[in-house]
Symmetry: C2
Subunit: 415 residues, 2 copies
């Protein structure tokens, strides 16, 4: 798209009310807007990056056999009372509201209850299992503090997948497949080398759960890493001797690090199917509770984590898989001159080839344009100056490394 | 996709708690699930149809020069107090909630305030205008009654576009372009011939607004139609003599009808830019309030309207543009037999050709499969029986008309 048509403006200074690096840079670059503490809007560039993350996760969920749904935010108290999670004492991050008739509703902070209740209408026999159902849907959590930018917010889109299996064996096989999909997601999103499968508490559901923790000074968690085996242990289970037997690692070989939780996978067992009465008839016709798991990733938090891990002192740095555009075409011409005509023509040819390009077609100083281009963080910058316009050979600058490659025009207009 | 892998089941009977035809059929067909009165979940087939509607609208909004964003549900009271729309007396469908510190938040029922406040950071001079910004985003409205299925719900995705223009002239030109885009949307969604541009009250913003009203006995509105000129007048302005001058129609030529409001476009003028201080510097440097408009379509309501207008006694009927799949491939074979192998091979070749096909690969009686296929409403059904498997010529049944066309295999596997 033409940058002259992009409504967002960048800022030189970080907003004074943001302490997290991800929010400072994303606000400066016009990717997001802060509505209030812990609540952000996604602006055109930010929404493109977010949607790229969503598309990448969706591919992996579909490859797992996931079926996509979209559940409601408004939650009836009834099903949550059945699972014992309605009271504010049980779940301390509820946002609640009221219908005109006075009955209380909740804003969904997760969807185990709603989906378990829904599946009762669709699971009858063992032939209806296993099933994997997921969504990308807004969650609401009444966090007391919100200082981590888009990494911990009061409202955020979450990918939550729920698995419905016949028994713990069938569940365990899927759980490992889901774990492998999670590893692919973080690798594809450019943070695979810094992200560790981490043993964590299973809460009230099972002995352990697994988190995916990306090592970063901005993290709120402390983990202990076995780099060689690419496994880690969350501080919350660090003193539990059993975890080392389960993980097959030695406590003495671990290294402490701060980390950001970018995903988690849980064995729920029959916790919710028992509470809400989700059972199937086995081959002998015997009613049996469905064995469940849940698998979460917050695309917004993942986007914030990528910023924390990859951005540099000049601004954002996006991996190609997430970047709002593959190329940033920066014209150094003035409206109507030869350089500007060459840039226009290159933009037009790149678009025809289906290449995603942001075209800085504005009249502004070169230094200003380059600084802004660095801030936006698009992976490759093509500079169109007088020489390039004349020779048809363009300087392509890699944002992450600063490496410059002289590239002939034909290579830039080939899909 | 293989129907054996689809988690949803269909029902023979309409749920007793639904009075609206759209909800009865969509629940029976497994497209949606009722969470509570006025709150629905979208299941895989329903979400596919909804996403097709969203994609169609998005194309038209992008063609208008719209830039997509995603704003928050949680709303700070401050901006709404400035516009005078925070109090429940001013807006009687608020859902409100509270932060831990006790401050009240609203759940967005529309986004004029939020977007106007946001644009203050990005609009400075006349060079920054016009701008067109839109989103697909969940709205929350505390409706007293909710009896129209997915056509009037307490929580729903809305496409809301807001225009920011220099003055009323620039605005008026865009308003007509947006009106033309709306007409294309309803035409592409298969309800163009029943949908009328309708003069309605402009509320507190301007003399008139325009609604798009689809004629249906299920409608909650009463309109008066000039069929020849394809215009209508909402009952609320029927007795206003000025409307006939504006519309260029004769009151005496109008025909009364019930109708469903499927879209609306509003001239907002400077109502919100004045209240929130959104101004730009004109060519002389003089601060001038931005002239605004808003343009809404609820994709879910549009989906419900399509059901109301097109479904028949056998079930749903989708236009191709909205249908979750283009083809319903129904195998009459049994697992492993010749017919089932022919159906498998056809399914595989159609998928390779990129054709969207739901494949009923289940062992079930033909009559049951056909009844279910009618209920699902996919535009074209391909029947694979013994003769088709042998000859390679398949019966393709058009859902809307029942017309049967003998079609050679090669025609079905060509994109």
């Amino acid at each position: 798209m033409r940058q002259s048509r992009l409504f967002t403006k960048t800022r030189r200074e970080a907003p004074s009310d943001e302490v997290a690096k991800n929010a400072q840079l994303l606000v400066r670059a016009g990717y997001i807007h802060k509505e209030m503490a812990g609540v952000y809007d996604y602006l055109p560039l930010g929404l493109r990056a977010l949607n790229n993350i969503i598309a990448l996760i969706r591919e992996e969920m579909n490859a797992l056999g996931g079926e996509e749904v979209f559940l409601s935010t408004l939650q009836d108290s009834e099903i949550w009372k059945k699972s014992g999670r309605w009271d504010d004492e049980a779940v301390d991050i509820w946002f609640k509201t009221k219908l005109k008739n006075g009955s209380e509703l909740g804003l969904g902070n997760t969807h185990e209850e709603a989906l378990t209740a829904l599946m009762k209408e669709h699971i009858v026999s063992y032939k209806d299992l296993p099933r994997y159902v997921y969504q990308f849907q807004n969650k609401f959590r009444n966090e007391t503090r919100a200082k981590s930018g888009i990494m911990r917010t009061r409202e955020f889109i979450m990918k939550d997948l729920y698995s419905f299996s016949r028994d713990s064996t069938e569940h365990a096989a899927f759980y490992e497949k889901a774990a492998a999909a999670y590893e692919r997601i973080f690798k594809r999103a450019g943070i695979g080398d810094k992200t560790y499968r981490t043993f964590a508490s299973g809460g009230s559901f099972s002995k352990y759960s697994h988190e995916y923790q990306a090592v970063s000074a901005a993290g709120e968690d402390v983990i202990y890493i076995d780099k060689k085996r690419r496994l880690a242990v969350n501080k919350e289970v660090y003193d539990d001797p059993e975890v080392y037997a389960s993980a097959g690692i030695e406590k003495s070989s671990l290294v402490e690090a701060k980390a950001i939780e970018v995903g988690n996978i849980f064995t729920l067992g029959t916790r919710f199917s028992d509470a809400l009465g989700l059972s199937y008839k086995d081959k002998e016709g015997k009613p049996t509770p469905v064995f469940m798991g849940s698998y979460g990733i917050g695309p917004g938090r993942l986007m914030g984590t990528i910023v924390e891990l990859m951005a540099d002192e000049k601004g954002l740095v996006w991996p190609e898989s997430v970047a709002p555009f593959a190329y940033h075409l920066v014209s150094l011409g003035r409206e109507g001159d030869e350089v500007s005509r060459a840039a226009d023509a290159l933009y037009s040819d790149m678009r025809k080839a289906g290449i995603e390009v942001l075209y800085d077609d504005r009249d502004a100083r070169a230094g200003e344009k380059f600084a802004e281009s660095d801030l936006l963080g698009i992976p490759k910058r093509i500079v169109v100056g007088k020489e390039a316009a004349e020779t048809g050979v363009f300087e392509v600058v890699e944002r992450a490394t600063g490496a410059v490659v002289k590239t002939p025009r034909a290579m830039l207009t080939t899909p």
